[in-house]
Amino acid sequence: MTLSDLNRGDRAVVMRTDVTPALRERLRALNVFPNSKISVLKVSIFRKTFLIAAGSVKVAIRREVASAIRVFPL
């Protein structure tokens, strides 16, 4: 399952991020890394953008990147 499959209010644990090293570092700096907990705050119309809470950080992620983040739903 990936982040792009989640809906508003869903919580999950990040399993892995299938992205380039540079993007992985950016996501890590925003609290999105393996074993971190996230929750979906909002999903935009047509599911183009996902707004998640990663700790105290709110991060907006486009669907393509969200599709590359493997999660385990809680």
Partner: protein, 596 residues
């Protein structure tokens, strides 16, 4: 000793820099505001230090270009004092950076900012215990108040005389707990596209209306300033006996300068709207909601910051493109920016629109909208195969600090006045000199002057729009020095725009689509290289002439032919794209560059 301000984007480094040095580095409630290293001096007791404000960085494995600036600075200044700045809520994200930079013994301390939001989200913090666990001085700071700045300087004095520290790797349990981000009621509203985007257009429309709507404060104040220069002061100058001195004062200075300075009230309103949108955190929500639209033209939501900055100043907007993720995207945004009408074009549009509209508000709105449309069309034309990824941390939602907003506004106005009093005034004086004397230095009419002889050949440039006049061509090209010059030169030579409404509109289209001023060209050269900047400027100026000819042709009944030509162009592009896709095969794989 040098003091480096290091930390994640939007941690408050530039606010602290301004507080310590008294300078005015650009700050904003946005990740990626600082795009280059800035230095300033600070006195602490009897000692003077150089403080360096570095662009925010998430890690030493940087992704964007401005993070590369910080990485390079850190590696070339290993013995400088590192003042780490972190939002309270971002401490755990700052720790890897802290550990990388302080891998060996280093003089450093950690300043925590934005504690109010942190506690509101349920965060817990014991500063003394945290300092003991990390092994370096840690303290809270509020650089926005005078007392906060004094306290910060006192703590910093103690840290600067302390020995180098070695970071400890102890758990932070009991010392720090992050809390969890929630959506407040206001945030739920602003993160809703059906509310936020109409609100944005309403705010923009409102700002424009207050700026240059008939009877609105912007227009009334502008008229008052203009009357002061052109009637009161010029009236006094009429009494001077010498025609040369009288001409110098009235034509060389008052008419030209007055036609630029009178727009200060209107430019203030525009800048105020931009500052408020930026400071409140509204922009990052807008970036999130418009990312889908930007993706369709090959950009991402982060571009909205640069494009909105373009309404203020193109040069400043070009510098903010360093916050974008790669050079290709940066170049595309830089090519789009000249079509976003900066505040310097406002005087020109208002001066010209008086020729073809009783109420200039809708005329100027039309020109601004045309510019935005051209900007998006440019991005669409240059679109690559895959849009860049979009990952953005939302800035906290906050009520802008009134004092901070006022300081930012005054800073922008100061820059405008300085530019007017130096570059623009120098240009007006030179223009007056060359247009008031012939090659024998005899005082003469403009048509017999040195400038008329030098610019004689230029008159054909705008002949296709009904203005076979060297003065119009000179005014247009003076915009390459500073856009404000166009309005001033027109006022100096012609009083107003002396041709028809159709010619005025076509000329406005030229100003809208022309290469930006030398400041913006210099900023482009810094980001993309001199050859590319010169190429862009030449292409944009050439195409601006063609656009103005096309506008004039369309206004004279040729719109059907133009429409057919544009439709044919779009059809050819679509057919070529479809043909290309068939030949290449349906390639749906995501670019390996971004997604591995």
């Amino acid at each position: 000793m040098n003091i480096m301000l290091v930390g994640n984007p939007n941690a408050g480094k530039s606010t602290i820099f301004n507080a310590l040095t008294g300078k005015h580095a650009k700050v904003g409630n946005w990740h990626g505001v600082t795009v280059g290293a800035a230095e300033g001096k600070m006195k602490l007791g009897d000692s003077e230090y150089t403080v360096c404000d570095l662009p925010g960085i998430y890690s030493l494995d940087s992704m964007s270009m401005e993070e590369g600036v910080t990485r390079d600075y850190l590696s070339s200044h290993p013995s400088d004092f590192a003042l780490f700045v972190s939002e309270c809520s971002g401490l755990e994200r700052t720790l890897p950076l802290l550990r990388s930079v302080c891998a060996e013994e280093k003089r450093a301390c950690l300043v925590l900012t934005k504690s109010a939001d942190f506690y509101r989200n349920g965060g817990k913090l014991d500063v003394n215990l945290l300092s003991a666990r990390l092994g370096l001085p840690v303290f809270l700071a509020d650089a926005r108040s005078r007392r906060g700045v004094s306290a910060l300087k006192a703590r910093l004095t103690a840290c600067l005389s302390a020995p180098p520290v070695t970071l400890r790797d102890e758990p932070l349990t009991g010392a720090y707990s992050e809390g969890e981000a929630k959506l407040s009621a206001a945030d739920r509203l602003l993160c809703n596209g059906f509310f936020c985007i109409p609100l944005f257009f309403l705010l923009l429309f409102g700002a424009f209306y207050v700026t240059f709507g008939t009877g609105m404060p912007g227009t009334l104040l502008k008229d008052a300033v203009e009357r002061f220069f052109k009637q009161f002061l010029a009236g006094k100058a009429e009494a001077i006996a010498s025609p040369v001195v009288r001409g110098f004062l009235i034509d060389g200075i008052l008419n030209g300068l007055g036609s630029v300075l009178c727009f200060i009230p209107q430019i203030s309103v525009l800048f105020l709207a931009l500052i408020l949108m930026e400071e409140s955190g509204f922009l990052s929500r807008l970036a999130m909601l418009t990312d889908g639209l930007f993706a369709k033209v090959g950009l991402n939501g982060r571009a909205i910051f640069s494009l909105l900055m373009g309404f203020g100043c193109t040069a400043a907007a070009i510098l903010t493109t360093r916050g974008l993720d790669d050079k290709r995207i940066q170049r595309r945004v830089i090519l789009c920016l000249p079509y976003i009408s900066c505040s310097a074009k406002l005087p020109v549009f208002l001066a010209l629109s008086a020729s073809f509209f009783d109420n200039p508000f809708f005329a100027v709105l039309l020109l601004y909208s045309l510019g935005v449309g051209l900007s998006f069309s440019t991005a669409l034309l240059l679109r690559g195969k895959e849009p860049p990824p979009f990952v953005l941390e939302l800035s906290p939602l906050q009520i802008p600090n009134a004092l901070f907003v006022l300081k930012s506004l005054l800073f922008q106005l100061k820059q405008f006045i300085i530019k007017t009093a130096t570059v623009i005034l120098a240009f007006f004086l030179l223009s007056w000199l060359l247009s008031s004397f012939d090659f024998s230095f005899r005082y003469c009419q403009a048509e017999e002057s040195m400038l008329a002889t030098i610019c004689a050949g230029l008159k054909y440039l705008f002949a296709p729009i009904g203005c076979c006049d060297w003065r119009i061509a000179y005014a247009a090209l003076s915009g390459l020095v500073a856009k404000e010059n166009v309005a001033g030169v027109l006022a100096m030579f012609c009083g107003g725009f002396p041709y028809s409404a159709k010619s005025a509109f076509s000329f406005a289209v030229f100003v809208l689509t022309c290469s930006p001023c030398v400041s913006a060209i210099a900023a482009t050269a810094r980001e993309t290289g001199r050859r590319r900047a010169a190429l862009y400027a030449t292409m944009q100026t050439g195409s601006a002439l063609l656009f103005s000819y096309a506008a004039y042709y369309a206004l004279n009944g040729g719109w059907a032919v133009l429409f057919a030509a544009v439709a044919m162009f779009i059809a050819v592009r679509i057919i070529r794209k479809k043909t290309g896709e068939k030949v290449r095969g349906a390639g749906g794989d995501l670019s390996a560059k971004f997604y591995g």
